[in-house]
Symmetry: C2
């Protein structure tokens, strides 16, 4: 870090960043130690610009400049990272969009191309095959990498993940002996839960090699390999007929250009009395993914609106019978993940380097902030064939024994 002097132009640019993208409760500290403020409100965090190159990055990449600089260490955040990001992302969410931003968004939504099976595999490989050890550091003991459902706000992450699996199982009203198809099964925890606690047979698809290997091992260790079959294949290759379809946290990776194909898969594999559940991160309004997340964390991902989720189902006369928004539960889940991640950050840094740690820290903290301010939502959508009559009379069965 150079202690070189700050020009008047640089000072004005920094102040402009604070005014347009910051918050009165934040300060910007420049590389010479000078602190800028736009209010005398007690600060909750300080954003440290370590060098003047940052302004050029920001001018060239309005969406990527700040997060890239954080990942590189050219920008530091003092104070609680999620708290600071809530202010910044909340400010963004409340700011009316400029025409330039709207046009950029349209272009982003338009330019995404259809996703081939092999490209999907690359995208998934890049994110999920970082190594089971890496995820084991900060996920719960069952390795569920999706929104938990906490019995109470103070429940543990382990309790929240088990409750989520049970909640999903009850929502699709599993009965012993039934056959379930799971699209995108992660490390297999939900498939194993359904087989063990609801006596069903599960065929679970996932294209991540490392995850499938881990899941098969778990099935064997738990004596469930006769009941749960893990297939390393794309959801579009699903064959067979099933009583229930579940997909928890896969839709984000499907991309909206493939929603039609997903709807056809569901229709094809569901028996006439079949029902299903899709669980996905979503957004109230149609927007492209955050550019930095796309590039650095989830290539090819897209968070749908609720009407886009419904639109997967309606062409096949699949009627929505229940929708629940678990946004606050995802914020809580991410808080647990970040806390565990920080505990293991030393090990991650030794293996993957400093930039990787800072990238993932920003991703987890930024996601907390996005759910906090409502930029992201989490919907569980339950559906049946529109004419089906063998349905639970109400939803009270989800809430028996206080779970």
């Amino acid at each position: 870090m150079t202690r070189s002097s700050v020009t008047g132009l640089e000072r004005r640019l920094a102040r402009r960043v604070l005014e347009t993208r910051g918050d009165p409760r934040l300060r910007i500290v420049l590389w010479n130690g000078e602190e800028l403020r736009i209010s005398d409100a007690p600060p909750v965090g300080r954003v440290v610009f370590r060098d003047r190159g940052l302004f050029l990055d920001l001018a060239l990449h309005p969406d990527l400049g700040l997060p890239n600089a954080y990942a590189d260490g050219r920008l530091e955040i003092e104070g609680d990272l999620p708290t600071v990001l809530k202010l910044v992302i909340g400010r963004e969410a409340r700011t009316p969009e400029t025409l330039a931003k709207r046009l950029r968004d349209r272009w982003e939504l338009f330019r995404r191309r259809s996703k081939s099976l092999s490209r999907s595999k690359d995208n998934i490989h890049r994110h999920y095959d970082l190594g089971n050890d890496f995820y084991a550091l900060w996920l719960d003991e069952r390795m569920a990498y999706t929104c938990a459902y906490f019995p109470t706000p103070t429940s543990s992450l382990e309790e929240g993940q088990v409750a989520k699996m049970e909640h999903v199982s009850r929502k699709v009203w599993l009965r012993p002996g039934e056959r379930v198809i799971e699209a995108g099964c992660g490390w297999g925890s939900l498939a194993l839960h359904m087989a063990r606690h609801h006596g069903v047979y599960v065929t679970a698809y996932n294209i991540s090699e490392e995850q499938v290997a881990y899941a098969r091992q778990r099935a064997k260790a738990e004596g469930l390999e006769e009941r749960v079959e893990f297939r390393q294949d794309d959801y579009r290759n699903v064959t067979g007929k099933f009583d229930a379809f579940v997909s928890v946290g896969m839709l984000e990776h499907v991309g909206d250009e493939n929603y039609g194909a997903l709807g056809r898969v569901i229709d094809r594999c569901l028996l006439p009395h079949g029902r299903g559940l899709i669980h996905s991160i979503g957004r109230v309004q149609r927007r492209p993914m955050d550019a930095w997340i796309q590039r650095n964390i989830f290539p090819g991902s897209y968070s749908p609106t609720l009407d886009e989720m419904v639109g997967i189902l309606s062409p096949h006369d699949l009627a929505v019978i229940d929708v629940e928004n678990l946004r606050l539960h995802y914020e809580k889940t991410l808080e647990h993940w970040l806390e565990r991640f920080e505990k293991g950050a030393g090990a991650v840094e030794r293996r993957f380097g400093t930039k990787f740690v800072r990238t993932w820290r920003l991703y987890l903290a930024g996601s907390i902030a996005s759910f906090h301010v409502g930029n992201l939502q989490l919907w569980q959508v339950v559906f049946h064939r529109g004419r089906e009559r063998d349905l639970p009379w109400n939803r009270a069965h989800l809430y028996r024994d206080g779970s």
Copy 2:
């Protein structure tokens, strides 16, 4: 009824009706007593064609011919009316649409014009101002003319309507002292329930003169006139700021050309922490209303898809937090209504005539059948501002004390 002879052409036409729009479990009986069958399955009902004029009606008005003939008494149905209609409407729902039908549907969806305040009033007047006495004959004692929520399938209509009001109140999480706006309040039962049992202040809108007069009288009789204000006005004229918005069974009359206006009204009248509920009949796929229902029962009505309901909210950053499909409860509600209607049919006939009785009988029985076969759905959609955090942690509060 003429006992005149049946020609070969007429016999072939009748058989064609049975084959294309009937069911193997139905028979057609012609005006000379001759019975046609397409299977030897035991019949569950017989459709009696009382004169040959019916074929001309059917040719000229494919969608209106049969129900008009039933209303006129030129067509009779022997056997349980809802059971027979379930077969006919179920057959329709499963039959792939012809191109002609699809084009007709498109045209119907297109040609509907925007609804002025005065035209809305005419439409509502025509249906709801038939007289409170008429509705009192077959609705529950609180005069709720919307889908009930039955604690169990054998609960009474009265229990189901009270449970519905309580379910709605809990879904919008009312707290004592809050202000609630209700759009389309019928005879006022929900507004009065919320005020009495949840300690809130309600402003309730309805353009039906008779209903508002009745509701005001009830508020007075129950000592709630300080807490509930009934305004005889259109929902588009709502003013003020409220903690909660509820609308139960109005959206069907709004018409999709006015959904944008409804969304703006909700956004305008909800406080930043406000939440709301819309309860409406809907359809899985976009379709025009049944032509006969449009003409004879509900002029200007439209049943939205779930994505159309969501689309009312999302432009204003209102996030869906809960959707429930009560389709089977509406079927049950209509069974209660039809049963009561039949008990009072003599009185209705003396006042309004035979055709009126037959029209309403067909509407009620046809609606039972439509919900039964999944042609119609019933959605309750709950929403909050997308960034709101003061939300119930889960939905268990809806299911306390077994309700």
